[in-house]
């Protein structure tokens, strides 16, 4: 068992992992510097206005308002003190980059990674480790469980589960049916349906052996998923801001529209904390449907084992994403409210400490995504299956947006605890 935890030749991943960790560390420090100066810039402009409001509230004798404004001034003063700045000083460049252009660690890692990979190339010695860096998002997702309580799971997760089921099966059935109608092979149609329906590459890998997809079919399907996911990852956050989509709505929209777990977490994290919290919870519901989509593909293409059975439980066991159980264990512990564990904002508690860690796993994972996006791989996309797959994924994105706008923010907001 212990031996099977290590893939053959696992030592080859070490250089690439170190490279991703180093890249993530540099970018996290750039993000930290930009956010520090952006906060100072905002504080420098806000403090004079707050003093005017404080004078007015004091004159009215409104004690609660005075206390609240004083607290906000203190917070802004601390942000200003960090850079040793004076009231009235400007750091407009930080606001322009961090606020206006949304140049946060997610964007820097993704864009920087793509530029490094495609302009300069990545030495062969790093490639194995870069491939392993992306799944490091999974421990980050587990640790993020400290942000949720059961009421979130029931409300947001329940809504998300319904959304995910409708959209996943709707897309998968449409793509598989259209593929068959337009003469696409069962192998390619099956993995394209699973890939555009659920979790992109993971679903393609899970479904490929079942529908007996050829390596070339996998290259086509993965190329399409990567191309669509990459384009959406960069377009959706800007589209969301342009359409005034709230953070919680964006999280749900990303969880429905973006196919790959890592890419959807990246887009949601880029949009904001509330977006990420909603996206992670709905994604947890979504990825639990992967085994069901594989079973569906087996049924749709009439595949059976020697005994003529579909093998429901064997497929469920083989394809279930077990890491998500860790995420739910932490939600249970957080919901019970044991004093020992505290909470993500309870200073000095275990959950408070864990809350400082998850972002680093995400950063290394995002470095892995950026550095593994190759224009050459995406050129593999093409043919009838590409048109059907990306058409269905696009329709899912538009319909998903309409549905989350109709649902509103409250139903999708993670309250936490």
């Amino acid at each position: 068992m212990t031996r099977s935890l290590f893939a053959p030749g696992w030592t080859k991943i070490i250089p690439g992992l170190i490279f991703c960790a180093l890249f993530a560390w540099i970018v996290m420090n750039i993000d930290h510097t930009l956010s520090t100066y952006q906060r100072a810039d905002a504080a420098s402009q806000a403090i004079p206005k707050l003093h005017e409001r404080l004078d007015a509230a004091s004159a009215e004798g409104n004690a609660d308002e005075v206390a609240s404004i004083r607290k906000t001034i203190d917070k802004h003063q601390k942000a200003l003190d960090v850079v040793g700045g004076q009231i009235g000083a400007r750091w407009a460049w930080a606001t322009l980059l961090y606020e206006d252009f949304q140049f946060k660690y997610v964007a820097i890692l993704l864009i920087g990674g793509i530029l490094i990979r495609n302009l300069f190339g990545v030495p062969e010695i790093f490639k194995a480790g870069i491939g392993v860096a992306r799944p490091l998002i999974k421990p980050g997702i587990i640790i993020l469980g400290v942000h949720y309580v059961w009421s979130d799971v029931v409300r947001v997760g329940g809504t998300g589960l319904i959304l995910a089921t409708v959209f996943i099966f709707g897309t998968a059935i449409t793509v598989m049916w259209l593929s068959r109608r337009y003469g696409v092979s069962d192998g390619l149609g099956g993995i394209m349906g699973a890939g555009t329906g659920v979790c992109g590459v993971s679903a393609i890998i899970a479904t490929a052996p079942v529908v007996k997809a050829k390596p070339r079919d996998m290259a086509y399907a993965i190329g399409t998923i990567l191309l669509f996911g990459t384009v959406m990852l960069f377009i959706m956050p800007y589209l969301g801001h342009a359409l005034s989509v709230s953070e919680s709505q964006f999280g749900a929209w990303a969880a429905v529209a973006i196919l790959n777990t890592a890419q959807l977490i990246a887009a949601a994290e880029w949009y904001g904390e509330e977006a990420r919290n909603t996206a992670v919870l709905i994604n947890a519901a979504r990825i639990m449907l992967i085994p069901l989509i594989v079973v569906f593909a087996v049924w749709f293409y009439g595949l059976r084992d020697e005994g003529g059975r579909i093998g429901f439980w064997a497929t469920m066991r083989a394809k279930f994403p077990v890491f998500i159980l860790g995420f739910f264990v932490l939600i249970i512990l957080n919901s019970i409210g044991l004093e020992f564990f505290g909470g993500p904002t309870t200073s000095g508690s275990p959950f408070w400490a864990m809350n400082a860690v998850y972002k680093w796993f995400f950063a290394i994972g995002f470095a892995g995504i950026g550095l593994s996006i190759s224009i050459e791989d995406m050129k593999q996309a093409g043919g009838t299956a590409f048109v059907i797959g990306s058409g269905a994924a696009m329709a899912k994105m538009v319909l998903g947006l309409i549905v989350v706008l109709l649902l509103g923010t409250e139903l999708l907001r993670v309250a936490g605890g």
Binding site: A318, P350, W360
Partner: protein
């Protein structure tokens, strides 16, 4: 189909997705244990020490 799913796991010991999942659980478990033992140190390292500029 059941033989497909089973044979994929048996031939390699664990599928790559399962291996990733188990490692994610191990890593998160280690982070949790260390955070229970020394929360202040973990927080200081990841929220302060690693930010050098």
């Amino acid at each position: 189909m059941s033989s497909n799913a089973a044979s994929e796991e048996m031939s390699n010991g664990l599928s790559s997705a399962k291996r990733e999942d188990i490692w994610a659980l191990i890593i998160a478990g280690v982070v949790m244990l260390v955070s229970m033992a020394a929360p202040e140190i973990v927080h200081d390292i990841f929220a302060k020490l690693l930010y050098v500029f």
